[in-house]
Amino acid sequence: MSKKVSKPGSISRRRLLATAGAALAATPLGAKLVRAQQTPIRIGMSMPQTGGLAGGGKASLLGIEIWRDDVNAKGGLLGGRKIELVVYDDKSSASETPAIYSKLIDVDKVDLLFAPYATVPTAPIMPMVKQRGLLLMGNFSFQVNSKVGHDMWFNNAPWGPADSWATSFLDIGQRAGGKSMALLAADQEFAQNLAKTAREVAAKRNLPMVFDQAYPPNTVEFSSIIRALKAAKPDIVYIASYPPDSAGILRAVNEIGIGDNVKVFGGGMVGLQFGAVMENMGSLLNGVVNYNTWLPEKSMYFEGTKEFFDKYTKRAVEAKIDPLGYYLAPFGYASGQLIAQAINAVGSLEQKALAKYLRENTHKTIVGPIAFSPDGERKETAVLQAQFRGVVDKNMEQFRSSGKQVILFPENLKSGELIAPFEAARK
């Protein structure tokens, strides 16, 4: 559904005033008086709601909608202007977004733009927003601005510098005594980008790469590939995989074994952040060190975080989307918070001024303080590397308590120490 209308809550005094205002607006003279106050601030975006990225897209959108409802419940921005979202489905495809964003800009004439979830749908609109000089709040795409160089782009994802991902994982592995590395990556966009940086970092550190394979999408059975990986006897196993494959790889590792010399296993497995997958995998997750963006550890709660998840949990069940929603939803909310702070500080919707404010300040959000570097990515990486511990089968609720995913990186959010080798950590 597009143009989701905020759910009516209890009638407040503001709402009554707004209704009165609407009645006034019906008269020609009144219209002029209240228009400035009445017109909503419209934020346009496409979001994958069908296709491969739909699971993430829907969770992300719910995060943004909760932000909208929170802001509107408090009376909106810029002296009472409500937030209105204009959302279209891009079918997880790059070929849909140019027309959608043109519609948003030229026909809907939205005030601000948010990017769709993920890199592929975002890539085609980067040159377009740059050319038109528009602010774009990014949503978990990876290095999409590195070639375009748009100075009004801000990514809500905690990636930070491109190589930080591989660096943090290899740090953990090398500290645990790892002296060689294996790399297994899906032959798809995001995973290949991760694999590339991992190769570069490994080369820089003279870490021998004993296994380096890209597996094709829709691979059914991973046991033979895991067997080959095991035969290479690596110490550090870096996996960059997509949701359907992550489960298959972990299953195969459990069945085939991976060898006693493996110190750490994981790194870039997409999918192990989603509730349904985690519940399905259960105890197979134990020991895996994987990236994440938000986890229910003490160090991760900031102002508003708990309240956000209270609302999210309730609404996710109704909407049949990820019941946990740690990975994307709070960052969707944070996108809203970033833009709201900028609007409040600048006092208008002037795009250049908003961008300038976002670039120059540190912002408080429910996922912690955010500051941007000149390329629009986070100044410092806040990608977590966390180890699964003591997970049992078929239990969604366990993931809500702390200690199931112990944060090993970054230092300031750390909530425990690595258990190595991998086989020991699985028990």
Binding site: M1, S2, Q49, T50, V87, Y88, D89, K91, S93, A94, S95, E96, P98, A99, I100, S102, K103, I105, D106, V107, T119, V120, A123, P124, M126, P127, M128, V144, K147, V148, A186, D187, Q188, E189, A191, Q192, N193, K196, A214, P216, P217
Partner: protein, 319 residues
């Protein structure tokens, strides 16, 4: 020239002039973005029908041709900074070669076997592109548009006009084929290949010709998509949707007449664009599914067939 031809060429000229005027007058960008996609599908559906409709060889590999067109353009831009016309020409040339290879396949295969072979071909080509690092491989590649050429002041407007040209080209070729000995030969071949061969129809030459023309056009249509998206990745460029949608458009419109695919593409393409910006959810896919089922069940000869029936004109298709 017959009266029909005069009408056709007048219509085409009026269409192109209208498109051109539109690029000069309309400031709003959205019609060009959405219109480009619709034009692209019209050209694809018309090109597909030359082989799939006239000759009855159902090609599932539309996405392979489209994707190769996209990547031909990507390669030329990255390697030589080639201009748009060259990208399209190169796409057409490669498409013709691919079409020739496909035509050779028809030597040994008919019916659904041919269709399955085209699926196999698509996957092989996609895998090859995925493994070709120079054009970005699986990671995809962002490309920059060069400056736009006068008289256009916006690249998408220019692409819109270029795609309109391709549509007219594809339709003109399709129409010519239908009305010439090629079309009659193809139709004979479609009804009964063996009988056609026996009565002296040069089936192999006709099939090769249809494959080459259809392939060249589909690749040429794919080439400007690289500049339209300014991004390419194998999963998007070789998306199964191109194959299914093209097939659906041709069948919904009707393949007995050159105008069928156009009608189908306009109807389905516009519906999809509208749905994207209105309902915008999984219902979108549902509508495509329902339209396919309803049309092939309720209007087996497509919209063209329906119109003929309504007119009570049951004679087979001379224009």
């Amino acid at each position: 020239m017959t009266r029909n031809s005069i009408a056709f060429w007048t219509g085409s000229t009026v269409f192109l002039v209208a498109v051109f005027v539109m690029t000069q007058v309309v400031g709003n960008q959205y019609p060009f973005f959405a219109g480009y996609v619709i034009l692209q599908f019209i050209a694809l559906a018309v090109a597909w029908s030359i082989l799939g409709g006239y000759a009855g060889y159902v090609n599932f590999g539309t996405s392979a041709f489209f994707g190769v067109g996209v990547y031909a353009a990507v390669f030329l831009v990255k390697a030589f900074g080639a201009p748009l016309p060259l990208q399209i020409l190169a796409g057409a040339a490669i498409g013709a070669l691919m079409g020739f290879a496909l035509g050779l396949l028809t030597l040994r295969m008919q019916g659904i076997f041919f269709s399955i072979a085209t699926i196999a071909l698509t996957i092989i080509i996609e895998t090859t592109i995925t493994n070709w690092r120079y054009v970005g491989g699986a990671a995809g590649i962002q490309i920059q548009r060069p400056a736009v050429t006068a008289p256009f002041d916006n690249y998408v407007q220019m692409l819109f006009f270029v795609q309109a040209l391709l549509v007219v080209l594809a339709v003109a070729i399709s129409r010519y084929i239908q009305n010439s000995w090629i079309g009659r030969g193809l139709q004979a071949l479609r009804d009964d290949e063996l009988a056609a061969e026996c009565t002296g129809v040069p089936t192999l030459r006709l099939k090769l010709l249809a494959c080459v023309i259809s392939g060249a056009l589909m690749c040429a249509v794919g080439a400007p998509a690289a500049m339209y998206l300014q991004y390419a990745d194998p999963a998007s460029a070789f998306n199964l949707n191109y194959s299914v949608t093209t097939l659906a458009m041709s069948l919904i419109g009707g393949t007995a007449h050159w105008s069928g695919p156009i009608i189908g593409a306009i109807l389905l393409g516009t519906t999809q664009q509208l749905l994207t910006v209105t309902i915008s959810s999984e219902v979108n896919v549902l509508v495509l599914g329902l339209m396919l089922v309803l049309f092939v069940v309720g209007a087996p000869e497509g919209i063209i067939g329906l119109i003929r029936k309504l007119r009570g004109d049951r004679k087979e298709g001379e224009v």
